[in-house]
């Protein structure tokens, strides 16, 4: 075997090696191609979500209630900063920072030097003009509520995941949130985009604007009044709701205690609950309007029917019913005006519980209104007839042994003001897309005709008497307008009996009585002090607010009626 032969072996051996490599290449590049292709895509293809702007919430006149602001935190990558001194001076002047301080804090090694937080759009644009590549902009969106605590329960707030957690923010989240866009890019291993390989680019669709039925100026009026009420009576809670009877639109709604959605940290769940929807109260005398309306509608009584009020003590079913004053003969109209418990009880006895009960249901008691879905709205308590005791027929009509939310109360009264037609209470007026086009308009929805228009007219007449020198709520009168309304002073049911110290004072009224433009509920839960009657606590507040609201709504005072009212005063 000579050298050449041995050399040949070596060469054949090498050639064999190359053949093996070729086979392996076919395996990698042809057989396993798809596996490695997926891995490669996984390596460099990235989906970047482009967040949409959340839509604004505005009131009926397009005043902002909630908006999303973009703020920027600005950082500087100090490495390879060209001409640091001059650049820093320019940056400092734009950001309104002291230049010498900035230059002092400059550290050529720092890759993430914080310059300023919460920088507004204008400054950012100016900074971008500089075209300094070392500047890092960190964009964050902040939901802000320019009116602070006003209407905070209705508007709601966002949770930590930036989705609506309560109020309209939750209810209308799917409209407000918008649709995120996406960007498919390829990145090198250092995380930088390879611009040449940019793929499809889908811009985000900004969220829609939600317009509420709320009138911000009315909201301000009731919020201010509530502050006064809270200061004066130190109550456990206080509520005002303003509604438009014709349409069921909520014009304003406010609760105490309240919270500022901008500063939600530290706010207790107690403060954030929208009690107008979630809490129930025994309505007290305001409920009489509902019961007597049923009796009139059934033709059992008319406004003039005389009722003997037993001189203040009526023994029925083993219990004695009292009036706060001893009345003899009263017409039905006077029973309402003077808010006689005995009179109401006897009218209800004449009607009978089997006829009364369907009316209570028809007015919406015992059932949620659905104004804000899945936010803890209470249905109130309306026991079925099977659970009524013998005295229930005298107690329920005067608002005892039945519980309702403030919203249910005002909605029932609103039906009386609206000629007997119960409307669905509404809070959202319309939805516009980000370009301002109308997407959806919500129209008024009637639930049912509860009482005949003629009955409603009769009820209004007697409710007008309540707000007169004959009635319990003279303090609720508004100069230039006829006010119809009903007071309520409910004892709170504490530890199995009716308390002598804890009351819920309320007044629900509407005006002008002949053509009601708004109905308003004022309710004060556990007012402290000597005054606790609805006519004393709630009615004056009603009058004070109404005087301002009629101006907001541009209502013309009636000349002759004004004269009459004044004469009565």
């Amino acid at each position: 075997m000579n050298h050449r032969q041995r050399a040949l072996y070596v060469i054949v051996f090498l050639a064999f090696g190359f053949t093996l490599v070729s086979l392996r290449l076919v395996q990698i590049m042809l057989v396993d191609h798809e596996k490695y292709q997926d891995l490669a895509i996984n390596n460099h293809l990235r989906r970047i979500e482009l967040p949409p702007h959340r839509g604004a919430i505005v009131d009926a006149n397009f005043n902002t209630l909630a908006q999303t602001r973009i703020i920027n935190d600005i950082y500087l990558d100090c490495q390879d900063l060209k001409d640091p001194e001059e650049t820093l001076k320019q940056i400092a002047s734009i950001l309104e920072l002291p230049a010498d301080q900035l230059i002092k804090s400059y550290n050529p090694e720092a890759r993430y030097l914080p310059l300023r937080k919460d920088v507004e759009e204008k400054m950012v644009l100016a900074l971008r003009e500089l075209k300094v590549r070392n500047l890092i902009f960190k964009e964050t969106s902040v939901r802000s509520y320019p009116n602070g605590a006003h209407a905070s329960h209705l508007i709601g707030f966002l949770g930590d995941d930036n989705r609506g957690a309560s109020g309209i923010e939750k209810q209308m989240n799917s409209y407000l949130r918008g649709i995120p866009g996406e960007l498919w890019i390829e990145k090198d291993r250092k995380g930088k985009e390879i611009a040449a390989y940019r793929r499809k680019d889908l811009p985000p669709v900004d969220g829609m604007q939600v317009a509420l039925t709320i009138d911000l100026s009315i909201q301000h009026i009731i919020e201010d009044q509530l502050d006064k009420l809270v200061q004066k009576y130190q109550p456990a809670g206080a509520f005002v709701i303003v509604m438009r009877p014709r349409t069921g639109e909520i014009l304003a709604m406010a609760n105490r205690p309240t919270f500022d959605p901008n500063e939600r940290r530290g706010a207790k769940p107690d403060q954030m609950r929208n009690r107008c929807l979630t809490d129930t109260f025994e309505p007290g005398s305001t409920f009489k309007a509902v019961s007597i309306a049923a009796a009139i509608n059934e033709g059992v009584v008319t406004l003039g029917t005389p009722i003997f009020c037993e001189n203040g003590e009526f023994y029925y079913g083993g219990f004695t019913l009292h009036d706060h004053e001893r009345y003899g003969m009263l017409t039905v109209r006077e029973v309402i005006a003077k808010s006689s418990n005995i009179g109401t009880g006897k009218i209800a006895l004449m009607l009978g519980q089997d006829k009364l009960f369907p009316y209570l249901q028809a007015f919406g008691f015992g059932r949620v209104t659905g104004i804000l879905a899945r936010q803890g709205e209470s249905a109130g308590i309306l026991r079925p007839l099977s659970q009524w005791s013998k005295v229930s027929i005298t107690r329920v009509p005067m608002g005892q042994g039945v519980a309702a939310t403030p919203l249910q109360m005002i909605n029932a009264m609103s039906a009386v003001a609206n000629g007997g037609a119960l409307m669905t209470p509404r809070i959202v007026k319309q939805v516009n897309d980000s370009a301002g086009r109308v997407v959806e308009i919500y129209s008024p929805r009637m639930v049912r005709q509860v009482i005949a228009p003629s009955t409603a007219r009769m009820m209004t007449q007697s409710l007008e008497d309540v707000v007169s020198d004959q009635g319990t709520a003279q303090a609720a009168s508004v100069p230039g307008f006829t006010v119809a309304g009903k007071t309520g002073t409910a004892q709170k049911f504490v530890n199995g009996e009716y308390s002598k110290e804890k009351y819920v004072a309320s007044f629900i009224g509407y005006l002008p009585a002949e053509n009601p433009q708004f109905v308003m509920l004022v309710m004060v839960d556990e007012p402290k002090g000597k005054q606790y009657y609805g006519g004393q606590v709630a009615a004056p507040a009603f009058a004070e607010m109404s005087k301002k609201i009629v101006q907001c709504l541009n209502l013309e005072p009636k000349k002759e009626t004004a004269g009459v009212t004044q004469a009565k005063l």
Partner: protein, 389 residues
Amino acid sequence: MALQRQVGYILLVIVLGLIAFGLVMLFSTSAPYATHNGGEVYYNLKRQAMWLGVGAILCVTMSRLDYHLLVRYAPYGVAAAVFLLLLVFVPGIGKKVNGAYRWISIAGMNFQPSEFAKVALIFFLAWWMSKHQRHAGDILKGFLIPAAVVGGLCVLVMFPRLHFRQGDLGAAAMLVLIFAVVMFCAGAKKRYLFPVPIVGLIGLMTMAYFMPAKRGRFFAFMDPEKFRETSAYQVWQGLIALGSGGLNGLGLGNSRQKMFYLPEASTDCIFPIAGEELGMWVALAVVTAFLVLVLASGWITISAPDPTGVFLGIGITTMLGVQALINLAVVTSMMPNKGMPLPFISYGGSNLLVCLAAVGVLFNIQRQGTYETPNGNEELLPPRTSPRM
């Protein structure tokens, strides 16, 4: 036969083709680095072109110089190699790259002395074994003395700065392999030679054991996916590059993996990027080109006029072929990761220089070679059949 006479041209065309391909791929792979570091896009290309110029001159010179003459100076070559390897130890000249002192830097040009040592060794073995052909079977002259020289060079290559953690195992393995092949062809006793790879393997294992940085590398190739975040990162990313290229590739310049995913994209791992950009057919063509290169240089070796030529030829063929084979086997995850450039294609001056010089020697051998004539007689090649360079 015409083909026999054309073998020099085949070699030339293959080498030129590989170099041209290498320059294109070098530009494609080095541009992202240059752009990222704010440097000049053509920087690496210019440097490579400079080395190529020097290499071309060297190649022509070697093809003109009679290898019999050169072989006589082989001992001085080994002395020079030792001197250069020792220069690595001189502060100011020795240069650290990737944490290892393997380079000397003269006038801004970085040179790897271990590359020169390979050629010096080939020449030394050819000289020694042709001088002592009759004693090829002896243990002393036929094994121990050449082994001592190789051992000495290996020690110098492996322990620069007297700190073996920074040693160059690949170069040492290459030297041992060249030694084994040339000795085998020269007729050394197999019983002396056989233990060499075994001892080498044991030595390698021991080294790997003492070098934790390399230990993981050693077995990671068997399951690169498992070690893809650690020791097999490079191999894994190389496989992704090759595999995602598929049949037709992503197009020249469109490699994604070169965007810093695959380390050493323009040097040791240039082949996967080429596969990713140009696809399987081109990758196979490159492998085929290396195969043809080995066959051509093998042909030249076998038809060398004398044993000296055969030894030189087989040494050079081994050096070029094994380098290519190891590089390709590493990037296809067929053997443990060993930093080894792909001849003529990878970026790197000293390797290109040495490879071109070696090809020059092959031309010289071919020029003097004997060929069988159609009538069965061996005769010297007529003049002017080798490439005129």
